[in-house]
């Protein structure tokens, strides 16, 4: 079967119903592996055990950003093809992305205490992530204050695309300004600059978090589809009552 068939909501829920259990299993396994790797990862000679925060912090940050990317793609789907599934995808992604971003903020500031001697500094990277978090909250607020779902979807889509401008700012803030926060060392042109003993578990956790995101997102999308079915059924019942 092709992606086109997947685009049909009922078909989509049918397929996801079959895929989800496997995804869940895969996620658990990945976390097990990543966890073990993290446990055996060597402590940093100056950061000590706190370096292990990184194995949550970086994936969280990465997914916080990636979720907005997913929403932006979905936004295009909403505006250009007016596809209901795109609306659902966008709506489902927002809270998850917000959660990951918050996790990034929290772990980051926890890490900042030993490293920088403070929980929070108004440095470019940190602030741009905070802005991302605020944007997430804004989108969620949009979704929840508008009762008509299609209207909400389109408005949120416009807003998401505009907000996407923030993503490169986050990514390159470390290059553009001399921030306290350290620059990219994992993903960067000319290969990674981290010792494998750190890099391997980091990759492990990245995959685990990504799988987790996939699982949560698909599940949330299924719920949203069901919720909409319910709403339309109620509307139709109301109209029937009005006609009679």
């Amino acid at each position: 079967m092709s992606l086109i068939d997947l685009a049909n909501p009922s078909r989509f829920s049918a397929v996801t119903a079959r895929v989800l259990p496997w995804l869940i299993v895969a996620t658990i396994l990945a976390f097990a592996v990543g966890g073990v790797q993290t446990y055996f990862a060597p402590d940093d000679y100056q950061q000590g055990a706190t370096v292990k925060i990184m194995f949550i912090h970086v994936p969280a940050a990465w997914l916080g950003i990636a979720a907005w990317g997913v929403m932006s793609a979905a936004a295009l789907g909403t505006l250009v093809w007016r596809h209901p599934l795109a609306d659902v995808a966008a709506k489902a992604a927002a809270p998850i992305g917000a959660a990951f971003t918050l996790m990034c903020l929290l772990t980051g500031s926890l890490w900042g205490r030993p490293m920088w001697g403070t929980y929070w500094v108004w440095d470019a990277r940190l602030t741009s992530v905070l802005v991302l978090f605020l944007l997430y909250l804004g989108v969620i607020a949009l979704w929840h204050t508008i009762d008509d779902p299609t209207l909400a979807a389109r408005a949120a889509a416009v807003f998401t695309l505009v907000g996407a401008i923030n993503i490169p700012i986050i990514k390159f803030s470390v290059e553009w300004w001399n921030t306290l926060h350290q620059g990219a060392s994992v993903f960067r042109i000319g290969g990674s600059a981290i010792h494998p003993s750190i890099l391997v578990p980091l990759i492990g956790m990245l995959t685990a978090f990504t799988l987790l995101f996939l699982t949560l997102h698909l599940a949330a999308m299924r719920n949203e589809i069901l919720r909409r079915r319910l709403r339309t059924m109620l509307l139709m019942k109301a109209d029937a009552a009005a006609r009679a």
């Binding site: 109301a238 009552a241 009005a242 006609r243």
Partner: protein
């Protein structure tokens, strides 16, 4: 038995005189149809009676009725704007005005009467022009007040709606109510008529004179 008497009323708006030296007398069980060309001062007169515009001359007096309430407080004013909040549902809109204007919380019946029963839970934003008008007319039913001040109440109502409105007004007059209505063209029922825009107007046999504006 109520009576609204106007003696030598004059009204200025935006610095220009709208009408002057207006005399009329309406008593309960009567309907006074205020007619005249656009800009003659119909709405101004109604707003003046409702206490929303100050007369610059003359006096407006109410015999009978509740002495410590003003005319406006005993009257329904249905103007060109229907005081509806788009984001509130039809029912919420009516319920609020009923509560504020001192009606008995009965909502369903008035809504059904104006034919909006099935739209009770729709936001007022979604209403069509006629439906909005019907909703603002529902106030007349939801809250019992002796004096009705209606400014082109039939505008954007369909034939059925206009008939229903006419019945409503007849019933009110029959119940001993008192109506001042600004209307264009044919009035819904035989009534005293006050033609504006034709110089000083006198109506209702006040001061013993029957004006030539009296309906032939």
């Amino acid at each position: 038995m109520m009576q609204i008497a106007a003696e030598g009323l004059a009204c200025n708006r935006g610095g220009r005189e709208v009408f002057c030296d207006l005399h009329f007398l309406v008593s309960s069980g009567e309907m006074l149809a205020v007619t005249g060309p656009n800009g003659a001062g119909k709405s101004s007169l109604l707003r003046l009676v409702a206490g929303l515009v100050r007369p610059c001359q003359g006096r407006l007096s109410l015999q009978g009725g509740d002495p410590e309430l003003s005319i406006g407080e005993q009257a329904h004013y249905v103007g060109h704007q229907d005081a509806l909040k788009p984001s509130l549902s039809v029912q919420e809109n009516l319920a609020f005005w009923s509560a504020f204007l001192g009606g008995n919380g009965e909502i369903a019946a008035p809504l059904a009467r104006v034919g909006l029963g099935s739209l009770a839970h729709v936001p007022a934003r979604y209403l069509s022009a006629g439906q909005r008008r019907r909703l603002s007319l529902a106030r007349l039913i939801a809250v019992e007040r002796p004096i009705w001040l209606l400014d082109e109440p039939a505008s954007s109502l369909d034939a059925a709606g206009q008939r229903a409105l006419a019945e409503l007004m007849e019933a009110h007059v029959a119940r001993g109510g008192l109506i001042l209505a600004a209307i264009h063209g044919s009035q819904p029922q035989p009534a005293k008529e006050l033609k504006l825009g034709g110089g000083p107007g006198v109506i209702g046999g006040y001061m013993g004179t029957i004006a030539q504006e009296y309906p032939a």
